[in-house]
């Protein structure tokens, strides 16, 4: 199952991110190089303030590096304008957040539909695709429920369905189990592992070793630099 020969999805070279702070600036990333092939499952680990969230934001096209190059599926992300980044996020990336980030006034299926709305798909197509995603996760009975009628685990599953629905090249999970109990966390991680086994590329940010253990490659980051990058045998 090693991925030496598979296609390169992410090629990040010497990523630097500075945040203005008072008179000077704060360097959150200090020369990160990272190559990710399609089908990988990577955990990015590090203490808070290590720069792992900044890296995730750049990889997720929510932000651009101050310097360095970032190619996602061949697209030079580092030189894109905000709206081009939005289009790229819409097509290529699915996000899973610690706080789920579902729209509270919308039903589960409407939340799952959201990326398709901005992909300008007609309503009926959207609806069918969203229901398919929910069905895949055995959640179709909750399609009409609002987030506040669902448990934390169910909410995160809805969020996962939303991340899957546009068939992205890359799924990014930012502490996906941070708000869940250990049993539910296990279920969610099992689900992510299954998604990876089906061929999806996953990058996970966490500070918990047992969560990171689900991944097949662990990248440790500290003070804005990668300090270790190892493939885990399972």
């Amino acid at each position: 199952m090693t991925t030496v020969d598979s296609e390169i999805l992410i090629q990040a070279t010497d990523l630097v991110k500075d945040y203005p702070m008072g008179e000077g600036s704060y360097r959150a990333l200090n020369g990160v190089d990272l190559t990710v092939r399609r089908g990988e499952f990577i955990a990015i680990m590090g203490p808070s303030g290590s720069g792992k969230s900044t890296l995730l934001h750049i990889l997720g096209c929510l932000d651009t590096p101050s310097s360095g190059r970032y190619l996602l599926a061949g697209t030079p992300v580092h030189s894109l304008a905000p709206d081009e980044l939005a289009g790229l996020r819409n097509r290529e990336i699915g996000f899973i957040f610690q706080m789920f980030f579902l729209l509270p006034r919308s039903s589960a299926v409407e939340n799952v539909e959201l990326p398709l709305v901005y992909a300008k798909l007609p309503p009926s197509t959207r609806h069918h695709m969203a229901l398919d995603a929910l069905r895949f996760l055995n959640l179709e009975t909750h399609a009409k429920h609002r987030p506040n009628q669902l448990s934390g685990g169910q909410r995160q599953q809805i969020a996962i369905a939303r991340a899957l629905v546009n068939k992205p090249s890359l799924i990014l999970a930012d502490e996906p189990t941070g708000n869940l109990d250990s049993v539910t966390s296990g279920n969610i991680m099992g689900l992510l592992k299954k998604l990876n086994e089906m061929g999806n590329t996953l990058i996970l940010v966490t500070h918990e070793q047992d969560i990171a253990a689900y991944a097949r490659r662990q990248v440790r980051i500290r003070d804005g630099k990668i300090v270790s990058d190892e493939v885990i045998r399972s």
Binding site: F101, L114, P122
Partner: protein, 424 residues
């Protein structure tokens, strides 16, 4: 997944509809707040619609009253404006039946002339009492005013010449006095006199202040006998000229005759005024447009106030929904999507406010007319809402939402996705 064609079909209007749905949901999810937000717009539109529709009703009724006069008709009355008060004018000015006869005799352009006086008096029939407007006039009245009897006849020259105590009644009088449908030849009491009904007029419908069906016509000389010198001195005269093109000549000749009859010297101000139909219509239309302007000014002020209310709440809403904006941006919403979302929300909100205001305004107008009819005059004209008021008030409400929604919407669209997602 989807063909280019369906995407194009879905296209712009699909997106607008989508945003409209999102907007409606946001608006309905906090009904009370939405209501308070658009209260300014609601009150503004309500006030305008109520005032305009009542005014329009009054003007429409005025206009219909005067438009039934032909373009070849003019109208002469004492120049009350000479005096500070109307009462003083009534007391000191004279316009008599003899003036009318002099005009008829000396002005060749006159085709028909109809002097008349108006009084309100009590009426009675078989123990039923009421009051109505009594018009003393001559046989020329129906021709000039296109108002004809349905049964019997109008006043005849002999009725006038012989000061007969006969009357022609309007349709409403039958109801007021509970008279039988066949009332020709019946005798009714008008003030102190007893009159024989010679004709019943066709139904004409309401008009400002006084329904034209709620009137009784009697011969002018008879009226002068009954109502005395004051009445004899305040005769109004309607004139139909032979050639509408030569209206100015007629006005000049009539003025000359009246100045002679009233013994006015060179340099004296006319103690009478001559109005042509076009002049009357012009005055009414001027009044209409001035009041519309004033109303328009009030509208703009209330809508600005309402718009500020909307902007205020939309700014709060953008702040409150920062997280939502972040989520939408994370899954691929571009700036323009967020901008339109909030813009459409504020336009939807203010347009809904406009609709509610329109409904309430219509209600208030009808209620006001209802109350005025109970208290002031039974024949107060119905409120009339022209379609332009509906269009204008709704589009102004929408425009207000658009103008005052731009800033909050731009603010929302400029948010950074990461900051928006982190917002607590």
């Amino acid at each position: 997944m989807t063909s280019r064609r369906t995407e194009e079909l879905f296209g712009f209007w699909g997106a607008v509809f989508e945003l409209f749905r999102i907007a409606l949901r946001a608006i309905l999810s906090s009904k009370m707040r939405s209501f308070l937000t658009v209260l300014g717009i609601i009150i503004g539109v309500l006030a305008v619609v109520a005032v305009v529709s009542i005014l329009q009703g009054v003007f429409a009724s005025f206009l219909s009253q005067f438009e039934s006069l032909g373009g070849d008709t003019l109208f002469v009355r004492p120049n009350y404006e000479m005096f500070k008060s109307h009462q003083e004018g009534v007391r000191r000015l004279k316009m008599t039946y003899e003036d009318a006869l002099a005009i008829a005799r000396d002005v060749s352009q006159v085709k028909e002339i109809c002097p008349f006086l108006m009084r309100t008096d009590t009426i009675a029939y078989h123990g039923r009492n009421d009051s109505t407007q009594i018009i003393g006039t001559t046989e020329s009245y129906p021709q000039i005013n296109s108002f004809f009897p349905e049964q019997g006849r109008f006043l005849a020259p002999m009725d006038v010449a012989a000061r007969r105590k006969v009357c022609i009644i309007g349709q409403d009088i039958l109801d007021k006095l509970a008279m039988p449908l066949q009332s020709l030849g019946e005798e009714i009491q008008i003030g102190r006199g007893t009159y024989t009904v010679m004709g019943i007029l066709e139904k004409k419908g309401g008009s400002f202040g006084q329904s034209e069906d709620d009137q009784i016509f009697i011969p002018l000389p008879t009226a002068i006998v009954q109502y005395g010198q004051d009445a004899a001195n305040s005769i109004f005269i309607e004139v139909q000229v032979r050639d509408a093109q030569k209206m100015d000549d007629a006005v000049e000749r009539i003025s000359a005759v009246l100045r002679r009859e009233h013994g006015l010297k060179f340099g004296d101000v006319d103690d009478f005024r001559v109005f042509t139909r076009d002049e009357i219509l012009k005055i009414i239309k001027q009044f209409t447009s001035v009041s519309t302007l004033i109303v328009g000014a009030i509208v703009s002020i209330t809508l600005i106030v309402g718009g500020i209310g909307i902007m205020n709440i939309m700014l709060v809403s953008v702040t409150e929904r920062t997280r939502e904006i972040g989520i939408r941006m994370a899954v691929g919403a571009k700036r323009i999507h967020i901008l339109y979302q909030f813009l459409i929300e504020s336009v939807t909100l203010s347009t809904l406010g406009g609709v509610v205001g329109l409904g309430c305004g219509t209600g208030v107008a009808h209620l006001t007319v209802f109350i005025l009819r109970k208290t002031v005059s039974e024949t107060f004209p119905a409120a009339f809402i022209p379609y332009w008021v509906v269009l204008l008030s709704l589009s102004f409400a929408a425009l207000t939402g658009a103008i005052f929604g731009v800033y909050p919407a731009v603010k929302a669209s400029r948010l950074d996705p990461i900051d928006a997602l982190r917002y607590e």
